[in-house]
């Protein structure tokens, strides 16, 4: 079917303002949106800029705003966002981060926040056995959080970061912290506490649930944030 893709474009080197450009393309309802972007880039307009790599939703390169909602272009099928001949799909870069060019945003701030929560395993005790023991139930507790691919979707969708507190470390950082805090083998809770238990930490979250809605890995982000809040409260009491 024929559809129109409308892409927000901006090249700070050359242009003062962003603008929307339309491309008419042939698409199969089962195509990935990334397939369509590739057709545009490789056959129509090589200057269109975006990131991509794995092509199947596991590397986190191609998060963007699709019809107003964050998602991975490679995990969004055309039929999910364009239902009929002549349909429009509007694609914009992620919010809350500076645009580098077209659909590419500068992720420095996101990764800086990520690093703040000490996103690595902390347990300096020597291992006496070969592996640290962990029951399947304990392992299951961190399953959700370990799925995060740092795609930035939640950070972009968060109304707190957008409008209230741009310094909020953001949902993904808390998910990453929880991945370790809830790991029965880790004991770095107090080292992570100062960043988490602060106005720019978990307390910034107002339960808008947008992060959970957009997460392409189906992580219950808001729930994890709330559980982390509870942990911190319990610890402080």
């Amino acid at each position: 079917m024929k559809i129109t893709i409308e892409i927000k474009r901006f090249n700070p080197e050359k242009e003062k303002k962003s603008y929307y450009q339309k491309y008419k393309v042939d698409a199969d309802p089962n195509d990935r949106l990334l397939d369509i972007l590739m057709v545009i880039k490789r056959r129509i307009d090589p200057s269109l800029s975006f990131r991509k790599s794995c092509g199947h939703g596991v590397c986190g390169s191609d998060a963007m705003v699709i019809n107003g909602k964050e998602g991975l272009a490679c995990k969004t099928l055309v039929k999910k966002v364009a239902d009929k001949e002549g349909a429009y799909i509007r694609i914009e870069p992620l919010r809350t981060l500076p645009v580098q060019r077209d659909l590419m945003v500068d992720q420095k701030k996101f990764f800086k926040n990520y690093r703040k929560v000490k996103p690595f395993f902390i347990n300096e005790k020597e291992v006496s056995e070969k592996e640290r023991m962990q029951s399947p139930q304990e392992r299951k507790k961190i399953d959700q959080a370990t799925k995060c691919i740092l795609c930035v979707s939640c950070y972009s969708a968060c109304p707190v970061i957008q409008k209230e507190n741009p310094m909020y470390i953001g949902p993904a950082s808390i998910v990453q912290a929880a991945r370790f805090i809830d790991d029965s083998r880790d004991n770095g809770f107090d080292q992570r506490l100062p960043e988490l238990d602060s106005p720019d930490g978990v307390w910034s979250c107002k339960n808008y649930f947008f992060c959970t809605q957009v997460c392409p890995r189906d992580i219950q982000v808001t729930k994890i944030i709330n559980m982390t809040k509870k942990k911190i409260k319990d610890f402080n009491n």
Binding site: N11, E13, K14, N30, R32, K41, R42, R43, P46, S47, S49, F50, R51, K52, S53, C54, G55, H56, G57, V58, C59, G60, S61, K75, L77, Q100, R101, M104, Q107, R115, K118, P119, F120, F121, N123, V127, K130, E131, R132, M133, Q134, S135, P136, E138, R139, I142, D143, T146, K147, I149, L150, F180, D183, R185, D186, D218
Partner: protein, 578 residues
């Protein structure tokens, strides 16, 4: 801009990151990667990483080594395979100790599952050797290693794309890279350089590989006169999602999944009566193509693009959700199929390069087949060829390869830089990388790169695929050669300096063309069938003439080959039955 680091690592997949962790302990180290580190394709690995832990049943490194040798159709260097099998046990514990969330047994140990070609007691029956974290094992390895690099303050240069290497005779003095953000060229002077740039499945049209898997490292070195080993051995994974190539892990069959043809028959009974659906990948990919050419594919049109069914419906929704959640997600997302209810349509997909930059067990790059080496030049991971995979890699053995040989290369580099000096730097560093870019800019109205790319992928898939024959490969070579000529006329259509992803894609295409050319050449040259290299005109393995590695050289734009001996210390070649 000029930088100076004792050790430079190119690539931040499993191999590069592990090497970085080791090298940075003792040497000033930089990691360059064209992707953000956690976007590397190691993150896509699904099924598992093998080590003879013996957590769920008896197992021994010796059995693992034997399976690796036999799986590789005896083209494996056996000392290296022993190192792989023995070191993997501690390597997996190391990952666990650094936080990797493996699935667990009820007792709390690392759980293990079956995988193709991994057996107990030298081929008796499948053994549970693959350690796994659901079907996200690679994601967890990549995350864990990146987290450790953060912990240890490793220096990263993200989105730096290497375009050239500085070689003075047989000594390496650094590299040249293009920074995506600015379009600037950077020179990194260095005493030791490690290539860990991953695979190059993108030379085929149906592939499990990422867009970024374009073999930049090997292609660059090939053009610099470094030989590449065993390029003719490219693995086609039997189960890629039909039409897309996205991988469906062998773990599905490890958990009991069955391949079926049009009539619902479990056709592997005819090809590997003992291991059935858990036979090595090369055999299963051939079995599928066989079924298809007999008209037993699901469509029955006998085209190489037909498919078969992977049936996991009897495993139950619970096993699928617990152990194969990603697969379930992929098949729901891309096919609209719930694998607990309906079989998954699959076809062979270009998956893994057994060949690559020839190295010894410490990552040192070989300069020929006679035992001489480059100084200060290293390689590890999928872009390298140690060779532990021989003519066909066993599932789960690549992740082992990354951490075992990535680590060893890092250790070796740290040792090397202490006794050595920076190369006296040439007054005029090589211009070739830059020249390439300049040339692309000069060309006017050249052919469309996309036409070149799609032709290349089509010919590689159809003529240098699961089955290959003389005439087909001749044809492929002629076409690829023509495409390489066309490529020289291609013009740069986006001339902006910052964030020029179009330029990077053009450079990648050039790399794929050279590698594909050498691959087709080596495949045409090897007149036997061994592992993943299946010739319909030479259907038997020929140990008398071909029990040797191939080294391919590129000189004056033409490929030539020479031989490198196989290290056979323990197991003499035997017929390969499963």
């Amino acid at each position: 801009m000029i930088h100076e680091y004792e050790a430079v690592i190119i690539g931040s997949g499993g191999a590069g990151l592990y090497a970085a962790l080791e090298a940075s302990k003792k040497a000033k180290t930089a990691v360059l990667s064209k992707l953000y580190p956690i976007r590397s394709h190691t993150g896509a690995a699904q099924g598992g990483i093998s080590a003879a832990l013996g957590n769920v049943e008896e197992d021994k490194p010796e059995w693992h080594a034997f399976d690796t040798v036999k799986g590789g159709d005896y083209l494996v260097d056996q000392n290296a395979a022993n190192i792989l099998a023995e070191t993997s046990v501690q390597a997996v514990y190391d990952l666990e100790n650094r936080g990797l969330p493996f699935n667990r047994t009820p007792e709390g140990l690392i759980d293990q599952r079956r995988f193709g070609g991994h057996t107990r007691n030298f081929g008796q029956a499948p053994v549970r050797r693959a350690c796994y974290a659901a079907d996200r094992t690679g994601h967890m390895i990549l995350q864990t290693l990146y987290q450790q690099c953060i912990k240890n303050n490793v220096s990263f240069f993200d989105e730096f794309h290497i375009v050239d290497v500085i070689l003075d005779q047989k000594k390496c003095g650094g590299i040249i890279a293009l920074e995506l953000a600015t379009g600037d060229i950077h020179i990194f002077k260095s005493k030791a350089v490690l290539f860990a740039t991953g695979g190059f499945g993108r030379m085929f049209s149906i592939t499990s590989n990422a867009y970024a898997n374009t073999g930049d490292g090997p292609a660059l070195l090939l053009r610099k006169g470094v030989p590449l080993e065993d390029l003719e051995f490219f693995q086609f994974h039997p189960t890629g999602i039909y039409g897309m190539g996205i991988l469906i892990t062998e773990g599905v069959r490890g958990e009991g999944g069955i391949l079926r043809n049009q009539d619902g028959e479990r056709f592997m009974e005819q090809y590997a009566p003992k291991l059935l659906d858990l036979a090595p990948r090369d055999m299963i990919a051939r079995a599928i193509m066989n079924q298809i050419s007999k008209g037993k594919g699901i469509k029955g049109d006998q085209s190489i693009y037909d498919y078969v069914h992977l049936d996991a419906t009897h495993l139950g929704a619970e096993v699928i959700e617990e152990k194969l959640p990603e697969i379930s997600d992929f098949s729901k997302t891309y096919l609209g199929i719930d694998p607990a209810k309906k079989p998954i349509p699959v076809q062979p997909t270009a998956h893994y390069a057994m060949g690559g930059i020839p190295t010894d067990e410490n990552g040192r790059v070989a300069a020929d087949g006679k035992g001489s080496f480059y100084e200060g030049l290293y390689a590890a991971g999928e872009c390298a060829c140690v060779s532990v995979h021989g003519a066909n890699r066993l599932g789960t053995n690549s992740l082992v390869d990354l951490i075992v040989f990535g680590k060893r290369a890092g250790v070796e580099m740290a040792k090397f830089v202490h006794g050595s000096h920076f190369l006296r730097f040439p007054k005029h560093p090589p211009k070739s990388g830059k020249a390439l870019i300049e040339k692309l800019k000069e060309n006017r109205n050249g052919p469309q790169p996309e036409k070149i790319r799609s032709q290349l992928q089509k010919y590689m898939t159809e003529k240098v695929g699961v089955y290959r024959g003389e005439e087909d490969m001749q044809k492929a070579l002629t076409v690829i050669n023509h495409l390489r000529e066309e490529y020289k006329k291609v013009s740069l259509q986006d001339t902006n300096k910052p964030f020029n992803t179009h330029l990077l894609e053009l450079l990648e295409l050039g790399n794929l063309l050279d590698l594909a050319y050498a691959t087709a050449f080596c495949a045409l040259d090897r007149k036997e069938t061994r592992g993943a290299h299946a010739r319909n005109d030479y259907p038997e393995r020929d140990d008398k003439n071909w029990l040797k590695h191939t080294l391919a050289w590129l000189k004056d734009d033409r490929v030539s080959v020479s031989a490198k001996p196989v290290d056979i210390v323990k197991w003499k070649p035997k017929p390969r039955k499963y």
